[in-house]
């Protein structure tokens, strides 16, 4: 099992087998390089742990535990969890500030205790088999166990072709579950308990209203979140994309006194996606030692099978691929830890979807306003196709249906509607089996009871932070792409103190009229270049279907894509309809796949075929 994920921890491997339990660990040594070997135990070897991640406040926790009489064998953060567990049992997680997935075996109680960090930075999967309970950081570890089934869960696929993600604990593989973020799972005397220990909340009664006070508090919190994320016994670098968030993080690192900072970024050959000029500006302003990897469409097509192998689920965009190439660069430069700006958009209100919802609400209220098309063009300046559309079309696209206004999913319905159109490619048999599937109703049933009391802005923030963040941003684009090359990402914006503070902010401080992340920009002020602070937000994107065409103007796809999209392979996998896919592929060959819908369909179908091929049909034998 552990060999399957050797890249997550190439520095050492450890095992502990005792009685009914076996723990394994692949180590990426970052804190206490010499002493932090795992699995690790307490003084009398009754409590054992295997742990992936970092506890950033381990220094403070260690001092407290020492005062209480605990004795430590190492300087590692891992050992802190063990002693904290001895002190507080399952409640120990409330004291942790970090990103973690761990399993503790408490032999006295015969209890296996699994936990995952609040926002889902680190992955953790499990499955029940006739022989016992298995768990691991990646699904491929579980699939290496012969009694774990290897088949696609069509209901999960229906969710991905609606939301881009599955609703945890469901995964794309039938019988394999994901421990949801902010949850613990306890396995004791044959029974399992799955319990949330933390959840996002938006509490209007505790709103922070005064801007000046909020600005200071946010900056202080972000500085401290960054400070404790620099704790490591190896050098720490940073991603610098040229956008606001990563520039803020790099600026905070510098402000904390780091003199030499290595930063890394992706540059695109295709100018539509490239942000090099902003990267240069930020790097020069902050005086960082900057390195970039140039990414072409061909590179994306070339590495895509590896990307899906690491993401372990179908993806609808190729955006993870450049991040796969970026982590390779980071590792080659001798770095294994990077700070990044992930989480800022979710926590501090940066996404276009928040703006779009605001405009659509305005539109519904003032249907005759002449401002509407102007606002929508301002919203998506980077979409060439949209810019050239006439007002009449914009009006039709962003038309608000009456029923939608009352929907708890108002902000997300247009996106989900569009993604759901891709289901037309499913085979008759798949659709037959999916009959009665209603992903949106399932999501509605699991919303927190307070959801309806939140304002519309907070509702859409919740949908992003609770689902897309862990299910796609932090996994398919985050942990999986970084860990593919043994690199650990750290995210100051996702420090739970920052998240909890931001959830008490008034929405008007997050987005002032249509100025996204308003408070963040105000808080960091001149710490970052004015041009980066004032630039229009450009979401991170990469070339899609054209990445799989060999050479410019060629009608031939990469070999593996030709093979996996052939009528024979489509029929064999059974998920999609070969005729429909054939016409999409023909359209792609002619370079006519232009629309967002067609591009998502192409990438979604190819990645699903790759999942079926690599994890089911040709899963590596030992």
């Amino acid at each position: 099992m552990i060999e399957m994920v050797n890249y997550r921890g190439p520095d050492a491997t450890g095992f502990h087998v005792a009685g009914p339990v076996g723990l394994a660990h692949a180590r990426l040594s970052i804190i206490d390089v010499g002493g932090g070997h795992q699995p690790m135990h307490n003084e009398d070897k009754t409590v054992w742990i295997t742990f992936n991640g970092e506890i950033f406040n381990y220094v403070e926790l260690r001092e407290e535990l020492l005062r209480k009489g605990h004795r430590f064998q190492s300087q590692s953060d891992t050992e802190v969890i063990i002693h904290l567990y001895e002190e507080k049992g399952e409640d120990c997680v409330h004291d942790l500030n970090g990103q973690w997935a761990f399993a503790i075996w408490d032999s006295r109680r015969e209890r296996l205790f699994l936990s995952r960090d609040r926002l889902g930075v680190r992955p953790l999967f499990y499955a029940g088999t006739p022989e016992g309970f298995v768990f691991g950081s990646e699904i491929k570890s579980l699939l290496a166990v012969p009694s774990v089934p290897r088949s696609i869960d069509l209901e999960a696929l229906d969710e991905i072709f609606t939301f881009w993600v599955t609703l945890p604990p469901r995964t794309i593989f039938k019988g394999v579950s994901e421990l949801p973020p902010g949850h613990s799972l306890v396995f004791e005397r044959g029974k399992t308990r799955l319990e949330p220990y933390w959840t996002l909340d938006y509490n209007p009664s505790m709103e922070v209203q005064r801007e000046e006070e909020a600005r200071e508090m946010l900056l202080d919190l972000l500085l401290d979140a960054t400070r404790i994320r620099l704790r490591a016994d190896v050098p720490v670098g940073a991603y610098l994309s040229g956008g606001l968030d990563s520039t803020v993080i790099a600026a905070l690192v510098k402000k904390l006194g780091t003199t030499h900072l290595r930063t890394f970024s992706v540059a695109f050959e295709d100018k539509e996606f490239d942000e090099s000029s902003f990267q240069n500006e930020a790097s020069e302003f902050l005086k960082t030692d900057h390195e970039r990897v140039l990414c072409s469409s061909g590179d994306i097509g070339r590495v895509f099978p590896d990307v899906v192998w690491h993401a372990e689920k179908p993806v609808l965009r190729t955006a993870p691929a450049p991040l796969f190439l970026l982590s390779k660069l980071v590792r080659e430069q001798g770095y294994k830890v990077v700070l990044t700006g992930e989480g800022s958009d979710e926590v501090l209100g940066g996404y276009d979807i928040f703006k779009e919802a605001k405009i659509r609400r305005f539109w519904a209220k003032y249907p005759e306003s002449k401002l509407r098309p102007i606002l929508l063009r301002r919203l998506y300046p980077y979409m060439k196709n949209l810019q050239s559309q006439p007002d009449a079309y914009l009006r039709a696209f962003f038309h608000v249906r009456k029923d939608d206004l009352d929907s708890p999913f108002f902000s997300h319905l247009p996106r989900w509607d569009m993604t759901s159109k891709l289901k037309m490619f499913f085979s008759r048999e798949s659709r037959e089996q999916m009959k009665g599937c209603n992903a949106i109703a399932r999501l509605g049933a699991e919303l927190p009871s307070r959801f309806r009391q939140w304002d519309g802005f907070s509702q859409s923030q919740y949908l992003e932070a609770a689902y897309l963040l862990p299910g796609y941003i932090l996994s398919s684009q985050g942990d999986r792409m970084a860990m593919a090359h043994s690199v650990e990402g750290r995210f100051p914006f996702l420090d739970y103190r920052v998240v909890e503070f931001a959830s008490r902010l008034s929405p008007r401080l997050k987005m002032k009229v249509l100025n996204e992340k308003y408070l963040l920009k105000a808080a960091v002020g001149d710490l970052i270049p004015r041009s980066v602070r004032n630039r229009h937000k450009q979401p991170y994107r990469a070339p899609d279907s054209q990445s799989f065409l060999m050479g410019s103007g060629s009608e031939i796809l990469h070999d593996y894509a030709e093979e996996l999209l052939s009528p024979r392979a489509i029929t064999e996998a059974g998920v999609f309809d070969p005729g429909t896919v054939g016409k999409l592929v023909a359209k792609a060959r002619q370079g006519q796949v232009i629309s967002v819908r067609d591009n998502m369909a192409f990438v979604g179908i190819l990645s699903t075929q790759l999942v079926a091929d690599r994890f089911i049909k040709n899963f590596p034998k030992e």
Binding site: K421, M424, D577, G579, K583, Q592, S595
Partner: protein
């Protein structure tokens, strides 16, 4: 069925429905409302019209009344032919 209608229907079936025959597209079915075209697909439709019928679609032509159903497209192409008979193939 006129040849314009045949060509337009062929395009819809091949390029927007990808051969699926279980979705009924009537002459007046709205492409936008039925989701056949998304917010970035209109330009694809324009490219088809210009190439297939040898007409020039001007910016001011880009309104749903001209482009949002099979019947609208037929009327639009015919009006272009009427305005400029030389453009007919």
């Amino acid at each position: 069925m006129t040849s314009i209608e045949t060509d337009v229907r062929q395009y819809i079936v091949d390029k927007l429905l990808f051969g699926r025959t279980d979705t009924v597209v009537n002459g007046d079915t709205s492409f936008l409302e039925s989701g056949l075209i998304d917010s970035t697909g209109v330009l694809e439709l324009v490219a088809f019209l210009e190439e297939q019928f040898h007409i020039k679609v001007e910016d001011e032509d880009l309104i749903p009344a001209n482009l949002d159903s099979i019947n609208a497209l037929i009327r639009f192409v015919e009006s272009k032919y009427a305005a400029s008979p030389d453009s007919r193939r």
